[in-house]
Symmetry: C2
Subunit: 408 residues, 2 copies
Amino acid sequence: MRHAPVEVTLIDRRNFHLFQPLLYQVATGSLSPGEIATPLRAVLRRQANARVLLGTVTDVDLNARILHVDPMLAGAGAGIAYDTLVVATGARHAYFGREEWAKHAPGLKSIEDALEIRRRILSAFEAAEIEDDPLLRRAWLTFVVVGAGPTGVELAGQIAEIARDTLRGNFRAMDPSQACVILVEAADRVLLGFPPKLSERAADALRDLGVSVRRECRVVNVEPGAVTIRDVGQAEPVRIATQTIIWAAGVQASSFTARLAEAADVPTDRAGRLLVNPDLTLPGYPEVFAIGDMADLPDTDGRPLPGIAPVAMQQGEHVARTICARLAGRPPAGAFAYKDKGTLATIGRARAVAQIGRLQLWGLPAWIMWLLVHLLYLVGFQNRVLVLLRWSFSFVTRGRGARLITGR
Amino acid sequence: MRHAPVEVTLIDRRNFHLFQPLLYQVATGSLSPGEIATPLRAVLRRQANARVLLGTVTDVDLNARILHVDPMLAGAGAGIAYDTLVVATGARHAYFGREEWAKHAPGLKSIEDALEIRRRILSAFEAAEIEDDPLLRRAWLTFVVVGAGPTGVELAGQIAEIARDTLRGNFRAMDPSQACVILVEAADRVLLGFPPKLSERAADALRDLGVSVRRECRVVNVEPGAVTIRDVGQAEPVRIATQTIIWAAGVQASSFTARLAEAADVPTDRAGRLLVNPDLTLPGYPEVFAIGDMADLPDTDGRPLPGIAPVAMQQGEHVARTICARLAGRPPAGAFAYKDKGTLATIGRARAVAQIGRLQLWGLPAWIMWLLVHLLYLVGFQNRVLVLLRWSFSFVTRGRGARLITGR
């Protein structure tokens, strides 16, 4: 849209774009937050038709076409008039109505989440070094990850590598490689978005790293110091003593999504996502678009599109084309069709799975592809070089450059 | 001490070594925390005679030779017996009895401090972009740094460069280069630890960057949204409306220093630093050493040694030599003598001052020396490469790679 005859206002609560696919590497001490985030103003510096506004959108008047923004920092809440509105407020993980579990089992969506999870993982090893009681030490060395989607698989694999490789020789009173990493998944396989064969390969790679994969297994309770799980078909729940529980399950659209659904009288799906028109507009409001994982648009096979970055990026481009066509009086771009260029997930060092069209890869080839794709899509040349360097160091030394316990 | 016949226990509240001299670059968005911090366990991994314990030292029994440690994470408070104790708990800035100013005018000692200051500086520009009232906008664009030692000079210079260079073209409603940076110093010159000529050069460099340097000027009040200052000899105080005040004045030894002074019945100086013996031992306790900026040891000219890293590093080596000599039955190392290899301070891009023996440098030569020395002393090869890269990018683009508003 850089040369389009439009005025763009980008409203965000944060002053940076976050490259979400690498957030788990911040949570596990491989990268620093600054290396996967780029200031919005730096990205849009040369785009004269765009301005950035830091604030929280609190409400919308769809008929008057006014967005209410709480600027957080200065001035009073302001109404911002729009001709066209593009909403992309995203989603968070879901606790299935057990929000009280959140403080014992944090999820991974923001930089603050990542630093909190990093603090918990690294502190657990420190506590195990100090703790004399063998049962209590075992609880500090037990890590439970709930949900075996890409984030859960990545986190479980990374924690296993921290215990086995990164911390080797770092402690005197205990052996960190004795840590126990448990990955809990309600479905019958890990990485449900992938073909079953690749799920099997991923599960094998996790087991290789020493991760205990529990499929068809549900979390029935979370409390300080323990998680209780139950296998499907089993009556008896099992209580696992653990000091570190990480939540990587469920999807829940952002809170503004519900407000928008109510204002437009548009239905939402079970995850709270808006059921949008095929051209990504809000039913009844052709000037309002909803994209990314806050929107539910069925694929050709009737399943909602996955909540991943490539979908959101292609949707953004589609909306831009639609707007430009409207302004030029050309026929609009029409229905959005997702072009699936492939899916990737990584488990650890030289361990990944990849599906590109009908091609299925795993092991080293998939991992190299994963590295290249993520470097390519990372925003900002500087960040690409820094991340490449960090990864090279980690590959050679099996170390992690950002193993800091901060906060609190 | 790697091959000395000793058992070393390193007790720290943090799990990393922080390279304090570059902390201001985290506070001003040039570097990420992980790039100037190195995990203690990684540093000591191959040193089999050393162990690391994460905890807070709460008390000491000098006669029983037992240190009381609160492990924070696990287990009960424990007593740790020692044969030799080396205390290096450092110092913080001082508010001269006005601790209530701290929350409006944070100082810079920890990573958390740096991220909070970064948040305040960057948020102020965001607020100025939103604010319509010209007087309120002026307050958001006014930055006051209190204290013109190396940290205050560095911070003031960096904020001026952010306003003039980094944020150029980033905003639409206001011009960030209109920001006003005020450096307040009670003495009659900046960088009091340097020769007067270099103080003059540093003040010139600050003025070049647009910093308003107010010497012989004291802060008489700090409140939300304003700081009140008074020039020496003037009756009338001046109230400056500002939303960002940073404190870089005063020195106060750590709280454990007071406890140690009381236990040993050893006097402290005005800043709470222990008056130690010439060999850095505690009077009456030859097995207890105090080093770094918690100790007050006069130089040959009778002035206390400056609270800078080279002094602390040389003192650490001196204590190690003393301990090894005692164990080997050799005559101990005796009195500590500081070997002044030079002092450096930087103001901004190609602007620095340096004193090496009788040689005085400023401008580009001093700046290049500053860069080399800081890269050399930064702990960890990976961090050196990353920081060099960040600096190269910043030099070419005048950008800052870690301009994130996080926290809260």
